[in-house]
Symmetry: C2
Subunit: 329 residues, 2 copies
Amino acid sequence: MAEKSIKKRANLRDVAKASGVSVATVSRVLNTPELVTETTRQAVQAAIEALHFVPSAAARSINSGRSHVIGALVPTLDNAIFSRFLGALEAKLSAHGLSLVVATTDGDPDIEAQKAQRLINIGAEALIVSGITHSPEFDQLITRTRIPTVATSFYEADYRYPTIGYDNAAASRKALEFLIGKGHQDIAVFHGPTEHHDRMRARLSGLHGQGELHTYETEITLAGAGKAIDALFQSSPHITAILCLSDVLALGALFGLQRRNIQVPNDISLIGIDDLPSSASAFPSITTIHLPAFEMGIRTADAVANWVERQIIPEPHLIDTTLIVRQST
Amino acid sequence: MAEKSIKKRANLRDVAKASGVSVATVSRVLNTPELVTETTRQAVQAAIEALHFVPSAAARSINSGRSHVIGALVPTLDNAIFSRFLGALEAKLSAHGLSLVVATTDGDPDIEAQKAQRLINIGAEALIVSGITHSPEFDQLITRTRIPTVATSFYEADYRYPTIGYDNAAASRKALEFLIGKGHQDIAVFHGPTEHHDRMRARLSGLHGQGELHTYETEITLAGAGKAIDALFQSSPHITAILCLSDVLALGALFGLQRRNIQVPNDISLIGIDDLPSSASAFPSITTIHLPAFEMGIRTADAVANWVERQIIPEPHLIDTTLIVRQST
DNA sequence: ATCAAGCATGTAACTAGTTTCATTGATGTG
DNA sequence: CACATCAATGAAACTAGTTACATGCTTGAT
């Protein structure tokens, strides 16, 4: 009395048997229906419906050698700059017929290596990572498996993986020079954690040799910026401008200053880096360095698609950043 | 002279041949190394290294019947509420040994159906969708393939898929009642597009029968809220409070009001829904209805993991929302 | 010394598709 | 009427793993 509903998913053979044709014909109905007679096609389709047949993705990709899956490793989804990047990436990959698996690393190179392994285990055809700080395990994994890998958010011509990103040091330098050009001399710098965080370090390094700066490290959240404001006013309240190495910090700083009833830009000028939508809409709107995260997503998607589809290894690509002057300076 | 480097990826048979053992032994080295002698294990490992052997994910999952991939369909990544949800979802799924494929739908049910098909094609074991508005094609797809599917951001006990989410109508009602309780009578409502957007519609429906409201539809961005503020001041500038059916709109409205030099909460009170980090940090901080997107992500991950791993179909789950009173009211 | 037990390993049959090559039958042409 | 051509289909050999079962060998107990 073994009910046939107890049986698991129907496969090609089941459909073939049910419709009285060979497995080859069923396969043709699915992939090249124009090679099959109308009559048999309908019979096979009927059997497919009746048996609730769904072709196995695994069996297909074992033959094609393709999974159509791309893996992306990002520190977090909680920062709008990564969301924008991933949004563009997903949209363009999808246009190329590829799907995006997202893994977050919390900025930890060890977690990155683990999750990279998992992405490879599920059959990802290529990996996309953020920045250039990676664990030796990660690098070994990429070398061993030879999986196509692109590093983003960072530009370095001769890096071990092709990079698609901006010059983080130049971006922060651009911001600092703008402030100095405006006559500011006492400048505070708000930045995020530097451990494992190459982009933040690069942005900090872009500020070297430009006179003395008061730096404050905090987590990259609105609340973190608020704490930095508190710390700032306990130590050197004589500054005239704050350079935030992330727009999240800039917006948080703006709120923190407003809370203390300090006028921006009259009392203190404020500049950020990223150009998140919030910087354009805030009041006062926030001067910032535009990082084209959207464009980076599109370009990365194209580069990866060309790599996995046509074996074209992408050239490193430097994406321009531009100063957007708004009301906060 | 056919170079062996021309040959493609090594497989189990190649490794077996190179190390002089059978394929079964190689498989054991990979999966149950304790069953293999130290000596042979090392020989096999050496061959694996030499040949750059990477096991095929497809071949593995054809045997196990598992892909360890879960697909999520969200309208956009550009709204922090979805980023938070996905962040929590990914983290918890990862703890269950599952990977997350993200597909964005732009809120379009047809795109959703297409992308759902693609997720199934790549072998996703389950789908997670937002809301309860889906195209007939989508529903047919789910019925036909019988793929485990969970609907989030929405609670409805008897929906065709298990839902894990909040009562959107109750959330907005809670916000409105709070304003009314505070004595407000002339209230504007800012909301996002309602087409295909069940959550927004539900939130609007929660406001019915509570007196006359001035509603303004705009896109859910900071800039969109700015436009709504403009529209508001062209029509009914006598309102005393604005109820925003999304915190993004609330923050945008705050900026818009500040730009017009209108004091919040003295001139106009402001309340939102979502409780994004920005609402807590803004100045003035914004009263809102807390939607536990993070908790929703965790719960959804657990539900889906139990479904695909132990065939336990999740019960619909209503997640509580809470009013967070801050400075803007 | 003999037999059972147990470990390490191999053989071959699975998993579920695609694809090549062969076969069949119908049609068209000389 | 004979033969070539072509469309539709099938048989079987692939893709790359896992695993049930069989085998050979070593070891320990009687």
